[in-house]
């Protein structure tokens, strides 16, 4: 059996990649993907802990997270499309009407 620590290391790596992606990438679509990575890192944790603890709650939590993530992406993509219609760009450097 794969020890728990492997899963936790994997999820931490995925999470850190997601955080770095949000912070340094300049394309909103890629930022959206990075946020999905962060959510899925948490999902890996939930499933791994759930199996390790023999407790079903974690897997139930994953279902909720998946559903919420889907709803969030729907709204996010709609906002990006509306933004693209006005500006014809998805780069956040060009989204800078307000500063401070």
């Amino acid at each position: 059996m794969v020890p728990l620590s492997y899963y936790v290391i994997l999820s931490t790596m995925v999470f850190v990649i997601g955080v770095i992606g949000v912070l340094i990438r300049r394309n909103i679509i890629v930022i959206l993907l990075s946020i999905e990575l962060m959510l899925n890192a948490a999902n890996i944790n939930f499933v791994a802990f759930s199996h390790y603890l023999q407790n079903i709650n974690g897997q139930v939590f994953v279902f909720f997270v998946l559903t919420v993530a889907a709803a969030e992406v729907v709204v996010g993509l709609a906002i990006i499309i509306a933004l693209y219609r006005g500006k014809a760009t998805v780069h956040i450097e060009n989204i800078n009407l307000m500063k401070g």
Binding site: I35, M38, L39, Y52, N57, V65, E72, I79, G86, I95
Partner: protein, 480 residues
């Protein structure tokens, strides 16, 4: 696992609000264009019925749905506040949406859905509910922030809020997953039991706690997680900004408090210093940066950041007096902020945005009552007696002194004095400057009503606060 039908009774207010929101979405396509404001009355009906339900359940104290959902006076206090804030938001919106050409029925449905999310948030007794409530609150807000979808500023606000909001949700969720792994439960009471008397050997506890603080810090707009606040407040439609700064902050503080005092209370010594640090930088930065703002909505954004810093003191103290002062603070903050945004909305007219501070020039000549209302709100935000803002700050500082955090109080008072400069500057501009042009302000009845109610409550709470204080005190005693 068991499920009792009677459990439904406890969540009835949430169910009612959600059902009304869905009904609005269903009715909306059948209404002719221009008649959408009928749906606003649907919104009032939903909030009224829910208010009645919560009022009747007010003194109950029970946990239902297998420990997922808790109904207690603490949560009900915040729920009643949220109903009032949502109703006032709808009142502010009706005329505004028409004038901006965005009078779509969905608006009211999203306001109700966000309210439902906040209600779940303040009653959450399980980390699953915390996450779901947070998302049910945030997702409608992403849409509402971009509701002026032909205006680039509004869309930009929506995009920024969406990215940073879901980023913070991701961080919070990772923290929750670590807590689950460490304790084997997501229930707040079970977590508290797990932590009682336990020696914390595992540094992952600290990591999970930090991730939770970051996640909640984004939602309450604490420095250094405040970057989204000024941009979103400026770009979003003004009634949405008002609701965002009042409802979302109150609900987030309620859940912050529930998670940290109720579940993580056992490791208070570990998170206390972190929160003290956040509170200090929030108070300092919020007040100092507000000094240089020329846009009133941005100024109110930094003011709301600074107020989050003050309210956090109640959380840091964490005893009954601290919780009590936080509840009072959120109540008073809600009314003065809604009122201030209401005045900003009155200045909006054809061709003029009306959200620059110089637009307030000579307001006292043009409209004496509006200027006086703004004066009350500004005095209250600055914490000058006899307005309610003074009562709010008084209890927060008293709680801090009782907890031997006198230096924090000194800092808070010093920066309250700094804040008086930028609040009173608005008053000075209104009363001392000559008006630029002779324009007649529009006075939609909804906005006037909100201003009257907010000003009355701010003065009443400043002069005679005891009925509200008594109820809050009772709610706190039940919580502990």
């Amino acid at each position: 696992m068991n499920f009792a039908v009677t459990d439904i009774g406890a969540v009835l207010p949430e169910v009612i609000v959600a059902v009304y929101a869905c009904a609005i979405l269903l009715i909306e396509p059948f209404l002719p264009k221009g008649r959408q404001e009928v749906l606003a009355y649907f919104g009032f009906a939903a909030l009224g019925v829910a208010f009645y339900g919560t009022w009747n359940l007010m003194r109950t104290d029970l946990t239902v749905m297998n420990g997922m959902f808790v109904l207690d006076p603490f949560g009900n206090f915040f729920k009643l506040l949220l109903y009032v804030a949502a109703a006032m938001t709808i009142l502010l919106s009706m005329e505004y949406l028409k004038r901006e050409g965005i009078d779509r029925g969905e608006y009211y449905a999203f306001v109700l859905l966000a309210t439902c999310g906040m209600m779940i948030l303040v009653s959450a007794s399980d980390l699953i509910m915390v996450f779901l409530g947070l998302e049910l609150m945030s997702i409608p807000f992403y849409i509402l922030a971009g509701f002026k979808r032909f205006e680039e500023k509004s869309l930009e606000a929506a995009a920024k809020y969406f990215i940073l909001g879901s980023f913070s949700s991701g961080i919070l969720l990772f923290g929750i997953s670590l807590l689950y792994g460490l304790s084997g439960t997501t229930n707040l009471q079970a977590l508290a039991l797990h932590l009682r008397g336990a020696e914390l050997q595992n540094p992952a506890w600290i990591l999970a706690m930090i991730l939770l603080v970051v996640g909640f810090g984004f939602k309450i707009a604490a420095v250094p997680f405040h970057m989204w606040t000024p941009d979103v407040y400026e770009g979003a439609p003004t009634p949405v900004t008002a609701f965002l700064s009042v409802g979302s902050k109150a609900a987030s503080f309620a859940v912050f408090l529930r998670v940290f005092i109720e579940a993580l209370g056992g490791i208070q010594s570990d998170w206390r210093f972190l929160l003290i640090f956040l509170s200090v930088v929030t108070i300092v930065l919020g007040n100092v940066v507000a000094l240089v703002q020329t846009n009133i909505k941005r100024m109110l954004a930094y003011s709301s950041i600074a107020h989050a810093g003050y309210a956090m003191i109640g959380l840091i103290v964490g005893d009954s007096l601290g919780i009590f002062s936080l509840m009072i603070y959120m109540l008073i903050y809600a009314f003065m902020t809604l009122g201030a945004f209401g005045v900003v909305m009155l200045l909006r007219r054809e061709g003029v945005e009306g959200d620059e501070i110089r637009d307030f020039a000579g307001l006292a000549r043009k409209d004496r009552l509006t200027a006086f209302a703004m004066l009350i709100f500004m005095f209250s935000l600055a914490g000058i007696p006899p307005t309610a803002g003074f009562v709010a700050k008084f209890y927060i500082f008293m709680a801090a002194v009782n907890a031997h955090l006198t230096w924090l109080v000194v800092l808070g008072v010093v920066f309250t004095a700094v804040s008086a400069y930028f609040y009173l500057r608005v008053v000075m501009v209104m009363y001392m400057k000559e008006p630029d042009e002779a324009v007649q302000l529009s006075a939609p009845p909804g906005v006037v009503m909100v201003l009257a109610v907010a000003a009355a409550v701010v003065l009443l709470l400043g002069i005679y606060p005891s009925p509200f204080l008594d109820y809050a005190q009772e709610a706190v005693l039940k919580l502990r």
